[in-house]
């Protein structure tokens, strides 16, 4: 979902140009920082970090001790082991020993995610260019409509869209193709809106100069729009990557046993407190590795995307 944002300043600390204002700002700051505020900040930082560390530690508990011993007990007697990761990834993950290994779902997540990022970004950039720079009748109305569609709950579209993709019509439900199409459709409103915000800020002179030279819309799109909007494309792509990789609903509705991504079997087994419950924490940790790498290495673009005026749900 998305909303218009007031003008924002970059996340990075503003660099004061004069030494004088720096000291003044620092003084004002010192008055603000009380020991209570510092203590509260430390507590918040801990509550927001420790659970993830606990997940990792719990995934190292041997299966036969999972029910009875806490991770700090096992840590203390040196019983932690990486065996669970091997078992989950390469042997089987599920409520029976013939369930497929998690590695299969890792591949499914990749196959589901990559096209579901490329399709809406490309189509969104094309439409964003048209809405930003080509005047046509109904342009404003259509753009506002697309903007409003961002907050429409997916739930409202699921049943009929599944029928459209289903066996009586396109026959793509349960296939990767169906999941890609569903993800693409649900991503388009955000994609068009976010890229439009960026593309509309390209200096008019740049486009007009090309236009005077006789460039067509196609030529402008490939020569000017694509190269200049790469930063926005990167932000959106990271956003969409995390969204699709972490999605459960769309994949559960439009996918099948052949296409289910990591979230699906983990969600199923998490509520099952049977003898294979110890496989859930390592699986959950594995599912987070790729998004965490993407997040930490590209955090700057991600934040820029958020500040560009939108987020989605």
């Amino acid at each position: 979902m998305s909303v218009t944002m007031p003008p924002q300043h970059p996340v990075e600390d503003p660099k004061p140009t004069e030494g004088k204002s720096l000291t003044k700002a620092a003084k004002a700051k010192n008055n603000l920082t009380s020991p209570w505020a510092t203590a509260a900040a430390i507590i918040i930082a801990m509550v927001w970090t420790i659970p993830t560390v606990a997940l990792f530690m719990t995934s190292l508990i041997p299966g036969d001790r999972y029910r009875t011993d806490a991770w700090w007990t096992v840590l203390a007697d040196g019983g932690l082991t990486f065996d669970n990761f091997n078992q989950v990834l390469f042997d089987s993950f599920g409520d029976n020993s013939t369930a497929p290994p998690l590695l299969e779902y890792v591949f499914n997540s990749i196959v589901v995610t990559v096209p579901s990022v490329v399709f809406p970004v490309v189509l969104g950039l094309m439409a964003a260019y048209a809405f930003a720079w080509i005047p046509f009748r109904g342009s404003n109305f259509l753009f506002v409509l697309i903007f409003a569609l961002q907050v429409v709950p997916l739930q409202l579209a699921l049943i009929p869209l599944l029928r459209l993709l289903g066996p009586e019509n396109l026959g793509l439900a349960g296939e990767f193709g169906g999941v890609w199409i569903a993800h693409t459709i649900f991503a388009l409103p955000l994609s068009v809106f976010l890229l439009h915000n960026f593309v509309s800020h390209i200096p008019r002179e740049v486009l007009e100069a090309a236009r005077v030279d006789g460039a067509s819309h196609t030529q402008m799109f490939f020569r000017i729009i694509i190269p200049l909007s790469l930063p926005a494309v990167a932000s959106l792509a990271i956003f969409q990557f995390l969204w699709v990789w972490n999605d459960l609903l769309v994949s559960a509705v439009f996918g099948s046993a052949n296409t289910y991504p990591l979230t699906y079997p983990i969600s199923n087994l998490a509520g099952d407190y049977g003898q294979y419950a110890y496989l859930v924490p390592p699986a959950a940790f594995i599912s987070m590795i790729i998004p965490l790498i993407v997040f930490f290495s590209l955090q700057r673009y991600f934040v820029r995307g958020l500040l560009a005026g939108s987020t989605k749900g």
Binding site: V3, Q8, T38, F147, L158, L242, N246, T311
Partner: protein, 355 residues
Amino acid sequence: MGSTALSGRSVIAAGDLGADFWASQGQNLLFAAVAIIAFIAIVALIMFGADLIKGGARDKVQLVVLVAPVLLLLGVGLIYPAVDTTWLSFNEITNEPDPDTGIFTTTMSFVGLDNYRFAFSDPSTLRTILNTFVWMILVPLLSTGFGLAYAVFIDRAKGEKVLKSLVFMPMAISLVGASVIWGNIMYDYNQVGEQTGMLNALRELVGLDPYNFLRDSPWNTFWLIIILVWIQTGFAMVILSAAIKGVPAEMNEAASLDGASAWQRFWRITVPSIRSTIVVVLTTITIMALKVYDIVRTVTQGRDNTDIVANRMYVLSFVEGREALGAALAVILFIFVIPVVVYNVRSLNKVKETH
């Protein structure tokens, strides 16, 4: 018995996965690569094809090429389904044998507001709607509250970037992953023996009895809400922190010289200056909270009065085959967001006017 099953799951290495496994995974990856290349090739082909047209029609055709895919996909894949779902919610689907032929036939008949009447009178469904309302109120308030407090506390502090990353990190974690972290590890409760859940171990440490977080209604809904708050606080914090940095330092200085306390400066300068951003964050998280079904599905599956509309809608439509009632719940979700849609479109138009 359990131990034999456990030892049966012997650890094997990647090399032991059959050739079938790698063949089918390779095929899927190849399929995705081909799909992407084909997609880009087709788009490029159509666009350059439209470039060969001579004369005045060229611009028009190219405009159509640029916007038609998005309009078509949204029209067919989002707008039509939304209208269709709304229509379905006023109907009843029955699957009964035809009185003449005896063949089972599915018929749709208009029943007006019956599905809605049922939703608001059936106690468990009504509870689902009320729970959703609680999520909708608490998640934005708590996330924005924590996010704002943290943003203010760490503003210009040493190591601010790292401190931000720590709280922002859950944004990268799936709701399913977060549900496992909290549901299976933080809230874990053992009736006997050592408490393996972190929070119950902590309670024991300070001499309290262990507590079954996920069973005790209505508080269990609150513990589920905390999971989403844990994720959304980072979002609120990053956006609000950027806004706080936009507040001129001189305003704070002047107030400080006039003897205003930090608390007064926060309420009289910071909050009014970033008011519009706070509203944006609140509405964004409200929408998010309405649609999320992953947490309830993963942690409690709606047991013990924790169900919410988004999860019940999924179960009714795709597990129990009661699509008409599921459609009514989807429409109820939409009705909850209509005020936000109206507000957003208004502020978009305001932004457009000022440009």
